[in-house]
């Protein structure tokens, strides 16, 4: 039987090579021309602790990590016990027989991973033993694997040859070992190499690259999972004259640092997660009222307070759109794929400059740590409009009128007061009612500058549409494709611009009988925001700390569509 994709889950203790094996498999496969996508969870402790990572390899472009596991690689008994339910009935279990013996499950095959690695003379080749075995199960040709090993370890160092040799030996022994078992999953269809160059990267890395492509100049951050990797990358790479990246002492310092830098004319960004985002509340309000461009990336995790630091959720939308006291509504972009992480970051920086204020870029743990192949972005197509800067004389009225006005930059003409108190044209504090009316309307009018035209729509004639946001896009689109195949009468809409929504899309949505929004939170936050804008929206919610399964979405959308259609007929 020919398969178009297969899913492997690696489970064990932190430090046993769970993540490196999964990422190694993904890299090997993309090297061979397949598509790959990983889903990682973290152990909650520093050393050890149960953890798992899933890799899905496919002939086609991938949207989700896959519902059913074809192969479970169990590094210990607990991993088997925890994950066996997710393995499909005719799947295969590879267990590390150097760690434990799996009894009573005919699907199991013991691979003495460490012994085989040791025999190559390179203990660190253990994950190659596993990858070799996996490749055999789906008949992936050996030369693909060897190509990968050669490419990866040819680094111009003295020991390269020996490392390449031992890794290839590890692949071969894993393969030969499992061959004796007779276990087999079938033929993975041959890869169709995607056109053009591809990059293999994580969502957070795509955000880093996108923001630099947009001309980011200043970054300040405070370590917090799952946003820390952005801070570390920036400290290494946002360097050189005119650039500044720094670990500050709290998220309050992060946001206020950006305020100072944005005021001084720079493109500035920070990334954080829920707890840090909450600390930025007052600063975001200051950015809004004083009209200072800056970008805050919220890499969502789960729950309030410390919550679920290593799980995924989409529960910060309300907090991101309405983060501060006073009449404030932040522009929000929520990315749904690794590729959108790149382009969303560019857009967020551009928006901040365009309307002179704070922008929130939302992403989530599952995207942050997801490794995926994407087409290499074409930088020549990246265009970021510059901030409107004031170049006239002194005595300028920075906050005059009801609309955006050019912004003076310190050092240049037009000295003014950037003011977090309500102010007059010059920026001096005032309490006159007419001023508060003017400035409030001015601030909201600028949001119009961010209205975009583009959004995704399919089968616009349907009265019921399925519309995910953020990281639920992947599983939702995969579910939608199945629903479409089954002729379930439901259309598709998607945008990463959550505030403001593209006006044409909003018009479209208002015409619908029902907009079904899958989201990873209890309250149905986006559905509720849509309803407040006159859209008949209902949420499909999940709050397990894990992403949606495609099958669940298919079932729930089918149910909702059926019952709504019955009602429609009655009415």
């Amino acid at each position: 039987m020919e398969m178009r994709d297969f899913v492997v889950r690696f489970a064990g203790e932190g430090g046993q090579g769970v993540v490196t094996s999964a990422e190694g498999l993904a890299q090997t496969s993309t090297q061979a021309g397949y598509h790959a996508l990983t889903f990682a969870t973290f152990p909650s402790q520093i050393l050890g602790g149960p953890t798992w990572t899933q890799a899905r390899i496919s002939v086609d472009h991938l949207l989700s990590p896959g519902d059913d596991v074809d192969v479970l690689v169990a590094f210990n008994q607990e991993a088997y016990d925890t994950h066996k339910e997710d393995l499909r009935p005719d799947g295969v279990i590879i267990f590390n027989s150097n760690e434990f013996e799996l009894e009573g499950d005919p699907r199991g095959f013991g691979l003495p991973v460490e012994d085989l690695a040791r025999a190559t003379g390179n203990n660190r080749a253990a994950n190659m033993v596993i990858i070799g075995a996996l490749a055999h199960l789906v008949h992936m040709p050996q030369e693909f694997l060897e190509e990968f090993v050669i490419a990866r370890f040819t680094r111009g160092r003295a020991g390269d040859d020996e490392i390449i040799r031992s890794n290839i030996q590890a692949l071969t022994s894993g393969r030969e070992h499992i061959a004796e078992s007779g276990l087999d999953l079938g033929d993975l269809a041959p890869a169709v190499r995607p056109d053009g160059q591809q990059l293999m990267l994580k969502g957070n890395e795509a955000i880093c690259l996108g923001s630099l492509a947009a001309g980011l100049e200043v970054y300040a951050g405070y370590p917090i999972s799952p946003a820390t990797t952005i801070l570390l990358w920036m400290e290494r790479n946002l360097v050189g004259p005119g650039k500044f990246a720094y670990q500050v002492s709290s998220e309050i310092e992060s946001i206020t640092t950006l305020l100072g830098a944005g005021f001084a004319g720079k493109k500035a960004m920070t990334a954080t997660a829920g707890p840090g985002f909450s600390l930025m509340s007052e600063g975001l309000g200051l950015g809004w009222i004083a009209e200072i461009p800056l970008v805050v990336v919220n890499v969502q995790r789960g729950g309030p307070a410390t919550g679920l630091p290593t799980k995924t959720e989409q529960s910060d939308l309300m907090a991101c759109m309405y983060p501060a006291h006073g009449d404030v509504k932040m522009p929000v972009i929520a990315v749904g794929t690794v590729e959108e992480c790149f382009f969303g970051a560019i857009k967020a920086i551009e928006w901040a400059e365009r309307y002179q204020g704070p922008v929130v870029l939302m992403t989530e743990m599952s995207l942050a740590e997801r490794v995926q192949n994407i087409p290499r972005p074409d930088l020549s197509k990246v265009q970021v409009d510059a901030r409107k800067v004031y170049t006239g004389d002194n005595g300028y009225r920075r906050y005059a009128g009801f609309e955006l006005s050019p912004m003076p930059i310190p050092g240049g003409p037009g000295a003014y007061m950037a003011n977090g108190s309500e102010h007059d044209d010059f920026g001096d504090t005032t309490h006159l009612p007419a001023r508060h009316v003017q400035m409030t309307e001015r601030r909201f009018s600028k949001i119009k500058l961010l209205e975009e035209d583009d959004y995704e729509i399919d089968r616009p004639e349907e009265a019921i549409v399925f519309m995910p946001w953020g990281g639920s896009k992947g599983p939702a689109l995969e579910a939608y494709n199945i629903l479409k195949e089954k002729s379930v009468p439901v259309g598709w809409c998607y945008t990463m611009y959550l505030n403001p929504l593209p006006p044409k899309l909003l018009e479209e949505l208002k015409q619908k009988e029902l907009v079904i929004v899958p989201e990873l939170n209890y309250q149905g936050q986006f559905a509720s925001i849509l309803r407040s804008q006159g859209v008949k929206a209902e949420a499909i919610t999940q709050y397990t700390g894990l992403p949606f399964k495609v099958r669940d979405l298919v079932n729930r959308v089918t149910e909702m569509t059926n019952s709504r259609r019955k009602e429609m007929v009655k009415a």
């Binding site: 360097v239 950006l258 305020l259 037009g414 007061m417 504090t429």
Partner: protein, 288 residues
């Protein structure tokens, strides 16, 4: 605010110490302008929230850039502005509540970084703007609107705190002496690193300490203020500590460590180790 703005409705109470501090800052800025030839727009004043922070609106004449933000956060805003544009002269003006209470967490990090800005703190030992509550520098036992039975929390010695945190330039001044105070501020601005000029700036409405500060011979009140002797070696931290043990409030330059590079200088040195790469090159790291 260069001329009187009829919409701006905040006024300092008659006799408020902050008038003198404003004058001193104006002196220092004009001196800088004359000395460096750099335009007034090269100066940025980042203000805290309090009666004191309103100084930024009340400056007369040629106007610098101002940022009147949120309570307690003037230091990290200044950090962002200075590190974005090290060529600017960045100054902070704030009260004792703003700087030492809600904003206290930001002093240590800037001291460790040796951020090249000058903070002028107007200490009146009270929260003026919110009408007379106790602040970290309110004296033990004092009755204020928020300590009806007397303050039971020890009062903070800010100069000792700054010295302990490693602030590299520490001066102490008095609002009634704008000229000498301007001298201290100028030195602070010229100092390549984090400088704090801590000013006794009494609140005539809620905590009028002019008499205690200056003393009153007729009433037998000894002045709290005393001038730091000219032979004090400001580069000597132990000597600075000793001065603080003598009681009262010393006036002058307490501590001045010129040996440490400022943060922007250190960042520039760091660039020698760093390898800036184009976005294309950074993307190459992910190709396969």
């Amino acid at each position: 605010m260069s001329k009187k703005n009829p919409e701006y409705d905040f006024k300092w109470c008659p006799g408020c110490g902050d008038f003198g501090v404003r004058r001193a800052i104006e002196f220092a800025m004009i001196d800088r302008l004359e000395e460096t030839g750099l335009p007034m727009e090269n100066n940025v004043v980042i203000a805290g929230i309090g009666c004191s922070g309103n100084l930024v609106h009340l400056m007369e004449g040629n106007q610098p850039y101002g940022f009147h933000g949120i309570h307690g956060r003037s230091l990290p805003i200044a950090f962002g502005t200075k590190m974005a544009r090290p060529d600017l002269n960045v100054m902070v003006v704030a009260g004792d509540g703003d700087f030492l209470s809600i904003g206290g967490e930001h002093i240590g990090p800037q001291a460790a970084r040796n951020l090249n800005i000058c903070a002028v703190i107007m200490d009146n030992g009270v929260y003026g703007l919110t009408k007379g509550q106790s602040s970290p520098t309110t004296k033990l036992g004092e009755i204020t609107s928020s300590t009806p039975y007397g303050k039971i929390e020890a009062d903070l010695n800010p100069l000792e705190l700054y010295l302990t945190l490693g602030v590299s330039f520490i001066a102490s001044g008095f609002s009634s002496q704008p000229r000498p105070l301007a001298e201290l501020i100028t030195q602070g601005m010229e100092h390549a690193g984090f400088s704090i000029v801590h000013v006794q700036s009494p609140c005539t409405t809620y905590n009028d300490t002019f008499e205690q500060l200056k003393g009153n011979v007729k009433k037998g009140i000894e002045p709290m203020l005393w001038n730091i002797p000219e032979d004090h070696d400001a580069s000597d931290k132990a000597a600075a500590h000793d001065l603080l043990q003598q009681g009262g409030i010393p006036v002058g330059v307490l501590y001045n460590d010129e040996s440490r590079p400022s943060l922007d200088q250190q960042v520039e040195q760091m660039w020698e180790k760093a390898r800036p790469q184009s976005v294309e090159a950074l993307m190459d790291a992910f190709k396969f």
